[in-house]
């Protein structure tokens, strides 16, 4: 048989078959065991990671009033591929859109992805949602996704609370938390407490089939996490006082900051002109931001921490305290004053002369304070003016001037209290003395302070030597979880006995026969304060006032600055006392004064 000759060819054939089988096994081993990229691809095919967005924490005032809450809104989402053409007219009617608008949106959605959901109509109100909800099921491809928006029931505290907005690409890149489209606090305490407020995002892993249809949760949701709502913030803000302050400052440029001296909690924090915080929320945010940003009166500027003002006469007690502490004057030291004829600094008042520190504060005598400053800058214990200036500056910094107070408010500025090197540079080393920088003695010249620094300085005097960093939020999550500030007691370098001297002087500003604020004295509350009339290059002087009350047991320290409003006693002092009255007695009896302040329009000054 001829074919028997070729019987050994079976070996060739079988070997070939086995070799090919073996090659397949090697290939399988490679793609199944060695190369893990296929597992990743399979997961990418089928798993969809759906972020669960937590609601941001709520924000309360010191009495439990809600300052910020979340309002449910709804995004109407669309999956273009699933939409039936016949539905167009009815959907337009439901949403009140034109056909062009509909097609434009649909094109945008389709450009993004025909298979994935994108927002068709963003932030539909609850009312509209209720209306369309019943009908929505009829339209394939449309569904509603709930979201939350910030809502401000009293429309107050815009600068204080700040606002939120979408994260920038840079923030996304730097962080492992934020993804494109997430919201983040941009200013105010929304920014400062972003980590606490934002909560924890949840993740749901869904599976989709080849048509991107949801086919259920992955492994019965074993790896799913739910979103955890952000922590609530309990602030020291007094919402009523804040609202009252904003009313008083209507149509004025300036700022009011009030602090509870015992704790450093901010009671009221406003910058005027302000704006309704509800303007910077949701769909209208972009448009309104543009309007506010271009407004020449700068409503977005946070004057309370970014406005750097010459403190003017409100600064005088600081200078006095340094003089007393350095021992260059005593509480009994008297200097003479020639009134408006004084040199090198004129006095704006006519009063007894010579006068002591109490009287000098009560009547805001410029020459007295110049003499104190000159005495400091001539202290024989130091070799030269530079050394004396450095000591003076160090004492002032212990009161919070020229440095950041490290509050919980973003974008705080530190004012200006230049180091001696600056004067060396301007005037030449050794070529400057008290005379050269004399304006500093009355809070003019180089020195600048923010309203926050000034109220902090009033707090220090009220507390007889210490302050806690001013802060808005006293606890996070629950009332007991105090913020770090309550343990950060700052003690000034001034002895209590010297502080008591200026305290007395400040009380006499109200109580004394010649006190610059005696017109605003209250029978029910003993107040201490100081007027300031700060010259500035922008027009009429700024009207400044710092105060605290009641003197025996201070509950409130306050700083009011009304830009270009003239004397401290014209606007700032009455506004400050109205605020004090409001805070302590909860009602204001001086209706005429109140009306006069509310109605004053100084925007054009």
């Amino acid at each position: 048989m001829a074919s028997r000759i070729y019987a050994d060819r079976k070996i060739v054939i079988i070997t070939t078959f086995l070799v090919i089988g073996f090659i397949y096994l090697i290939r399988l081993f490679y793609i199944q065991v060695i190369d893990r990229s296929y597992t990743l691809s399979a997961n990418n095919n089928v798993l969809r990671y759906v972020t669960q967005f937590p609601a941001r924490g709520l924000i309360y005032d010191r009495n439990g009033k809600l300052l910020v809450y979340n309002e449910a809104v709804y995004d109407l989402m669309v999956i273009p591929r699933q939409v039936k053409d016949g539905d167009t007219a009815e959907i337009c009617r439901l949403l009140g859109r034109t056909a062009e608008g509909y097609h434009e949106r649909m094109k945008k959605a389709r450009d993004y992805s025909p298979m994935l959901a994108s927002a068709f109509e963003k932030q539909i109100s609850k009312e509209t949602y209720g209306y369309i909800e019943e009908k929505l099921y009829r339209f394939r491809g449309f569904f509603v996704q709930p979201r939350t928006l910030r809502k401000y029931p009293m429309s107050i505290g815009a600068h204080l609370l700040g606002y939120i907005g979408e994260v920038t690409p840079v923030q996304v890149e730097k962080s492992d938390y934020y993804k494109q489209g997430d919201y983040i606090g941009i200013s105010g305490i929304e920014r400062a407490y972003e980590k606490e407020l934002r909560g924890i995002k949840g993740l749901k892993i869904r599976m989709v089939d080849v048509f991107n249809r949801d086919v259920g949760s992955f492994e019965n949701g074993r790896y799913d996490t739910s979103a955890v709502m952000g922590g609530d913030l309990y602030t020291g803000i007094d919402a009523d006082l804040q609202q009252y302050g904003e009313k008083l400052m209507a149509n004025k440029r300036g700022s009011i900051v009030a602090i509870d001296p015992a704790t450093g909690e901010i009671l009221c924090f406003l910058s005027s002109p302000g704006y309704d915080p509800n303007l910077l929320v949701g769909r209208v945010r972009g448009k309104n931001y543009g309007i506010l940003n271009n407004d020449p009166i700068k409503p977005l500027l946070n004057r309370a921490i970014m406005g750097q003002y010459p403190p003017g006469s409100t600064f005088k007690m600081a200078n006095d305290m340094v003089g007393l502490q350095m021992g260059v004057i005593t509480k009994n030291t008297r200097y003479s004053c020639q009134g408006p004829g004084s040199s090198p600094i004129k006095c704006t008042h006519n009063h007894v002369s010579p006068l002591d520190v109490y009287m000098a504060i009560q009547q805001s005598c410029n020459p007295f304070h110049w003499q104190v400053f000159r005495a400091i800058m001539s202290d024989p214990n130091y070799e030269n003016t530079k050394q004396r200036y450095d000591v003076w500056r160090k004492h002032l910094m212990s009161m919070g001037f020229g440095r950041l107070l490290n509050t919980d408010l973003a974008f705080e500025l530190k004012g200006n209290l230049p180091p001696s090197e600056v004067f060396d540079k301007i005037y030449g080393t050794g070529s400057w003395n008290s005379m050269t920088i004399r304006s500093l003695s009355i809070g003019q010249g180089e020195i600048l302070a923010t309203p926050l620094q000034l109220v902090n300085y009033a707090t220090l005097v009220a507390n007889r030597g210490f302050f806690y960093p001013p802060h808005v939020v006293r606890s996070v999550g629950n009332e007991k979880n105090k913020t770090k500030y309550s343990s950060q007691k700052n003690i000034s370098s001034i002895n209590v006995e010297y502080i008591d001297v200026v305290r007395q002087g400040m009380m006499e500003v109200f109580e004394g026969d010649h006190g610059t604020a005696r017109a605003f004295k209250l029978d029910s509350i003993t107040m201490a304060g100081k007027t300031g009339t700060a010259d500035n290059p922008h027009g009429k002087p700024h009207s400044n006032f710092i105060a605290f009350a009641p003197v025996d047991n201070p509950k409130i320290a306050i700083c009011v600055i009304v830009e270009n409003a003239g004397f401290g006693s014209t606007y700032a002092a009455p506004i400050a006392t109205l605020m004090i009255e409001k805070y302590i007695t909860r009602t204001v009896k001086r209706k005429d004064l109140e009306d006069q302040m509310i109605n004053a329009n100084l925007l054009n000054n």
Partner: protein, 419 residues
């Protein structure tokens, strides 16, 4: 009755067991591939897996009928069976129903029958009959031409149906010719042609020709440089160059776009994850993501959520790879190799040339399907739509493969009787 017992006693149990194992594993994997929560029963006749059960049962009946048929019947009626199938292949061109671009189906009631599947065993029978005939002499020109004609006729008819995959299957029967004495050089030539074709498609044809030239020039240094050898080498060079050029020409001008794309994707010249490459890519992802132990029964996400196309038919091996991992894939591959090698070993023990040639035909056809189908799912072969024998969903293919195999089992059980 006694005689029947005798029939069953000589049946090769190993082959039957291998067959049953593959059919059942296939069924379970079809169930997993198209599993549907609402029809969770594997016996649900409205689903592919329920229908496959019907195909399996009827296949077993067909197998039994083949066993009960007289062994000599298949040899004696080889030509009529072949002729009948050829007739069906012609008729289907006119009366057939077009499914997925191929006009290769007869619609009978609710079922579709594919004559091309049955042509496989018919052609093998005819080939075996011719090669085992007493007047066959492989030195005669006529004896060399006619087998090729027997193979080419159904292949051409199937090509006309636009079912390239099934047509190429007939090339595998060249192995039978090789075993029967066709010179090995012809097979080598075939391999050389395949390699040259791939080179011509992969690279610039002029570069390929240049490389061939350099190689042949080098070769000349190692042989006796007489006129005859040099002329032979030069002749090889001219033929190879012409071949490379014509492959290139045929690729550019004869093939249709989707065929070109498939070839390009296979050769790695083109990455097209949405088009032709999609199937292969998703298939590789399915198998690759199975890992060592697999994702477990019914846990394959690639197949369950329809990322793999044709997952119960041509891409059924994906389900094995994804859900049973490397371990499961290895078992299936070893089962196939065991089946095929067993058939070859059994063919060699036949005393009748007809049975042996037929056995080799069965082995060649099964191996070719295995080679192309699994190679396709793991990205080593182009996407040629042919089923995985005994595994893929489908009545025609399961029936045809069962008959193909059982005719051989019957022949083998009869081997001890006088020829």
């Amino acid at each position: 009755m006694k005689e029947q017992k005798g029939i069953f006693r000589h049946i090769d149990r190993t082959l039957i067991l291998l067959y049953l194992a593959l059919v059942l594993i296939g069924w379970v994997n079809i169930y997993a591939a198209v599993y549907n929560d609402e029809h969770a029963s594997i016996f649900d006749l409205s689903q592919s897996y329920g229908k496959q059960m019907l195909w399996i049962v009827t296949s077993l009946v067909l197998g039994l009928m083949v066993i009960l048929t007289d062994a000599k019947f298949f040899n004696a009626f080889a030509y009529p069976i072949y002729g009948g199938t050829i007739l069906l292949l012609v008729v289907v061109l006119f009366a057939g129903k077009e499914i997925a671009g191929s006009k290769s189906w007869f619609q009978v009631g609710g079922f579709a029958l594919q004559p091309a599947e049955f042509a496989k065993f018919a052609t093998t029978l005819a080939l075996a009959h011719y090669l085992s005939a007493l007047d066959f002499d492989n030195r005669k020109r006529k004896s060399q031409i006619i087998p090729l004609f027997i193979l080419a006729l159904p292949a051409l008819l199937i090509l006309l149906q636009n079912d390239t995959g099934s047509a190429i299957v007939y090339a595998s029967l060249a192995l039978v010719l090789y075993r029967q004495g066709m010179p090995g050089s012809i097979l080598l030539l075939g391999v050389a042609v395949a390699i040259l074709s791939i080179m011509a498609l992969l690279f610039n044809p002029y570069i390929v020709i240049a490389v061939i030239g350099v190689l042949l020039l080098g070769f000349v240094f190692f042989i006796r440089r007489n006129m005859r050898n040099i002329l032979t080498v030069a002749g090889i060079f001219v033929v190879a160059s012409l071949f490379v050029q014509s492959v290139n020409y045929a690729f550019e001008n004869v093939l249709e776009l989707h065929q070109k794309t498939r070839i390009n994707v296979l050769l790695g010249k083109q990455i097209d994850l949405k088009g032709a490459g999609y199937n292969v890519n998703q298939s590789k992802i399915a198998i690759g993501s199975g890992g060592f132990w697999g994702k477990g029964f019914l846990n394959g996400t690639q197949t369950k959520f329809n990322f793999v196309p044709e997952q119960s038919t041509d891409f059924i091996f994906c389900t094995v790879g994804e859900e049973w991992g490397f371990v499961g894939s290895t078992i299936v591959i070893l089962l196939f190799l065991a089946l095929i090698v067993r058939i070859i070993l059994m063919a060699e023990r036949q005393r009748s040339d007809f049975s042996r040639v037929y056995g080799y035909g069965v082995a060649s056809i099964l191996f070719f399907h295995f080679f192309v189908n699994i190679g396709m799912t793991i990205g080593l072969m182009p996407v040629i739509g042919i089923p995985l024998p005994f595994f893929s969903y489908g009545g025609s293919s399961l029936w045809a493969f069962t008959i193909l195999l059982f005719i051989f089992i019957k022949q083998d059980s009869n081997r001890l009787q006088l020829v």
